[in-house]
Amino acid sequence: MSNNTSVVKNAVCTFCGCVCDDMELTVDLDEKRITKAKNACVLGRAWFYEHKIENYPVALIDGKEASLEEAVDEAARILVNAKFPAIYGLSDTTCEAQKEAVAIADYINGNIDTTTSVCHGPTGMAFQGVGESTASLGEIKNRADFVMYWGGNPAEAHPRHFQRYAVSPKGLHIPNGKEDRTIVMVDVRTTQSASVADIFLKVKPGRDFELLWALRALVKGAALDSSVEETTGIPLDTMKDLVERMKSCQFGVIFFGMGLTMTRGRHFNAGALLALATDLNDYTHFVALPTRGHGNVTGADNVVSWQTGYPFGISFNRGYPRFNPGEFTTADVLARGEIDALCVIASDPGSNFSKKAIEHLRAIPVITLDPKPTVTSQLARVAFTTATYGINVRGTVYRMDNVPLTTRPAFESPFPSDQDVLSAIKERVCELRGLKHASNRMTRQTAKVAV
């Protein structure tokens, strides 16, 4: 370790959706690595320590080293030549890069989709169906005396969630921290998180929807069949007790994870939970929040939404955005073998998509942008090495509760940022397609269509 170190205070950890911004990073500027990450959790420490500068080529074309310019040109050509190109990933990069990615999708008449479609996409769809009552995490800290986690394991996935936001912190109306809160955990198995719970409900696997529906019925005083005890594995008296607690709290919150959104019922599970929280507003103030995984997946939702009107699963093939999860989401277009080129930004579908999807991934030209080699980048026609957001790149990221923060990079990377590469590809795409100063006929170009 050299003596040439610096300390970055109030640095932002972009590993998970908690986006803790109280990191104190000690950086070895010669070795270009972080040697100490005060306040970081076990996951954050791994993230900070792991990202040092390795000697990767800045770009590979067909596995051979290439210059940035060559790779940008090749990537642009692939995208422009494709009849059904798609851009995917985006949850581990800055909003500035995400904006460029959406622009490229627009200019190549391709698909844009984010990892939301394989995590809380169902929550997004549920939100469009029933709405939500939500709050920024500080409201939970300051007010929530009833805190419920459903289908998630924050102790392992979001280690500081309890401590910073929802369980132990003291707040305006929660002077004694955890003592002032009732903590409830619902899951199909006893996880590490369950230990903090005052009440733990072990729901039968795949029966979240029935349990949520039953709780809603109890909240509304609607008819409820007693068979629900058997189907959910939760005694009716326990449910009634829980509902009484929910109705009589000062401020309640339910956090929910992929245990709910990615099991049978998906968007309806999420919708049932959001509806439960909304129903409870007849009695008290009640909110619900998905616990988002990736550091800036929430930013991706936001950027894609403001640029297109839709959060994910979008096709520009007809010159304007269309939204349809299942039809335009990446896992689905790959599995059906529909797309003919794919650009992946900061994600690794090659390691976690279905077998059929990966088979098609292997058959088409793929472009990747990632700080490290991944299974997908190994398959890629064009692979860029980019700087790590947060650690090397300044930019905007959104916490899981939609609160935006600006990252404080620890040291410079020799690699370009995702934004730099994407911006260059965008420029090249526009040149290749002759979009610069194209004649812009007609005003108020609107298509009153709903195909």
């Binding site: 109030n10 709405g131 304007y320 005003t443 609107t446």
Partner: protein, 556 residues
């Protein structure tokens, strides 16, 4: 750099007392100038009407709540696609358009400035990010401070000096243009156990030794004392409730003669008893404003068709949600604000909706000073900004207005004076309520006018007896001296400019703020303020008393 001549056009420029005179306009480097060489690029505006670019004083176009409303309604977007043209980006329209589409469509109507009206400080960064993707138009936003816990704690303790410094700090930290009050004091009861609200200005706010009136008075005073170009922008308590005109009058009286702006006042001009059908108190409200030159207002006209209710007044949206049984959003921001969103449709046959529509028109037409009662639909609360051309026709064309009035709930219309009003607004008056007036109220002296030195934001319409058709699509739109719409064709995309204020404050106030942040916020104090990199092309509108006095005098 760029020069332009606009010749032979019929110019309406109320600031400079030009009312429909044929006059040539010259542009150089984004500003109006005395002259340019004869061989400069020229628009021959013969048979056309030349107006300053439109200025929207109150709309919701960017930020967290807008974006939630956007992704909330895919079913609305899909009916209204904005095609990509060349390098101009595609998008979706509907009631809450995507960012690029918002910019293009405002410009298409001839609007070149629009102010986002409600942003919690924590959402400022988000709002500025969206502004970056909202092309063509200039913009700024108002920051929500009337339910700010820290500020309210200072107020209840009477620490007025620190209060003023803290407000100034917050304006700087968020890059806001003005101070916004929404349902002052209503968030605390809403977020509390009972999901309730405040309904009296002198009612104690739960958890505080404080009343809405104290908050209102303090923020009106601090806006004036800091010499902000735009005064406190107030969404009064009791929005939408029958009988709320009394609260509105009470709020205006609280200003005690100081400058204040009451927003979407249509929603605050109802008589009747709480819980019963509203009646119109537009005449009473208009009468008060006619006699109080310190007060300005925008109407918040309701237009029939789809809308989206999005407001910091979350308890109101909960009431509406329980009436419509539609999907609903509540979104609380820690220590700062609340928010409610739901899709809505105003229907002519519904008594209340027809009454609201008529009340808005009454307010326009019964107000004697168009400079102080300007046009808005509180987009998208009363309807999309794309309704402006139709609204202009309703104001300019009595026959059309009465025809429309006859199509809707007649009991509602009979409870208003609408059919007795003969007034038709002139083109000059339209130029005031859509351009010169809002610019003056905002203190944007280079906007809303075409005098030498003004910003070259110019719109040119084909003269057309049907004012809706006329205002529906400007033939030329010049923004900062660049042609954006050229004979009905889009030209290149331009970023607009961001307007904000940066009043001086004593840095010592940060020592007061920091402990509160450490205890009750979840982001670090040092990460809270938005830095200049989010502004791009921007202008810091200097707060100085002279500008304020000047504006005040011109209004009396």
């Amino acid at each position: 750099m760029s020069v332009l001549r606009i010749i032979n056009g019929k110019v309406h420029d109320p600031v400079n007392n030009i009312d429909g005179r044929i006059k040539d306009i010259f542009v150089r480097d984004g500003k109006i100038v005395e002259s340019v060489p004869e061989d400069s690029p020229t628009i021959d505006a013969s048979g056309m009407v030349v107006l300053p670019g439109g200025v929207d004083i109150h709309c919701h176009i960017a930020g967290h709540k807008v974006n939630m409303a956007r992704k909330f309604q895919p079913e609305d977007h899909r009916k209204d696609a904005q095609l990509r043209v060349g390098e101009l980006r595609s998008g979706t329209g509907g009631v809450v358009p995507s960012t690029f589409t918002t910019g293009y469509r405002y410009a298409t109507l001839g609007y070149t400035t629009a102010m986002e009206a409600a942003v919690p400080p924590m959402s400022a960064r988000h709002t500025l990010e969206e502004f970056h993707d909202t092309p063509v138009i200039d913009k700024g936003f108002y920051v929500l401070l009337a339910n700010n816990i820290f500020l309210n704690q200072l107020l209840e303790k009477g620490r007025m000096e620190e209060f003023r410094e803290a407000v100034a700090w917050w304006l700087n930290a968020s890059k806001a243009y003005a101070i916004k009050l929404v349902n002052p004091g209503g968030d605390e009861p809403w977020k509390g156990r009972k999901n309730s609200n405040v309904d009296q200005l002198d009612q104690k706010i739960s958890g505080f030794d404080l009343t809405p009136r104290k908050i209102i008075k303090a923020l009106i005073d601090v806006s004036n004392d800091l010499g902000l170009p735009h005064p406190a922008h107030i969404h009064c308590n009791n929005l939408g409730h029958s009988g709320n005109y009394a609260t509105t009058l009470d709020t205006m009286r609280t200003a005690e003669g100081r400058r204040v702006h009451i927003t979407h006042i249509q929603f605050h001009s109802y008589g009747g008893k709480l819980g019963e059908k509203p009646t119109s108190k537009a005449a009473e409200i208009a009468e008060y404003i006619n006699h109080h030159p310190n007060i300005t207002a925008d109407v918040g006209q309701v237009m029939f068709g789809n809308a989206t209710i999005m407001t910091g007044d979350a308890p109101l949206t909960w009431l509406l949600r329980n009436m419509t049984h539609k999907k609903w959003i509540n979104a609380d921001t820690e220590c700062e604000s609340g928010c409610g969103i739901l899709p809505f449709a105003y229907q002519g046959h519904v008594y209340t909706h027809a009454l609201q529509w008529a009340v808005g028109l009454e307010l326009f037409l019964l107000s004697k000073d168009p400079w102080r009662m300007v046009l808005s639909t509180d987009h998208p609360n009363g309807g999309s900004f794309e309704n402006y051309p139709r609204l202009i026709r309703l104001l300019m064309d009595r026959e059309f207005r009465n025809e429309e009035a006859r199509k809707v709930n007649q009991k509602a219309i009979a409870n208003t004076k609408l059919l007795d009003i003969d007034r038709e607004m002139t083109m000059q008056e339209i130029a005031i309520i859509t351009r010169a007036g809002p610019a003056r109220i905002l203190g944007l002296t280079d906007k809303g006018q075409l005098g030498v030195g003004a910003d070259a934001d110019i719109t040119i319409y084909d003269e057309n007896e049907n004012r809706e058709e006329m205002f529906n699509a400007a033939r030329y739109v010049v923004k900062s001296g660049n042609i954006f719409i050229d004979n009905h064709e889009f030209r290149e995309d331009r970023h607009g400019r961001i307007y904000h204020v940066a009043p001086d404050y004593d840095p010592a106030v940060e020592d007061t703020l920091r402990p509160f942040f450490e205890d009750y916020y979840t982001i670090q104090f040092d990460n809270y303020a938005v830095d200049d990199s989010y502004l791009g092309d921007h202008e810091t509108v200097k707060p100085y008393p002279a500008r304020f006095e000047e504006a005040k005098v011109s209004m009396t």
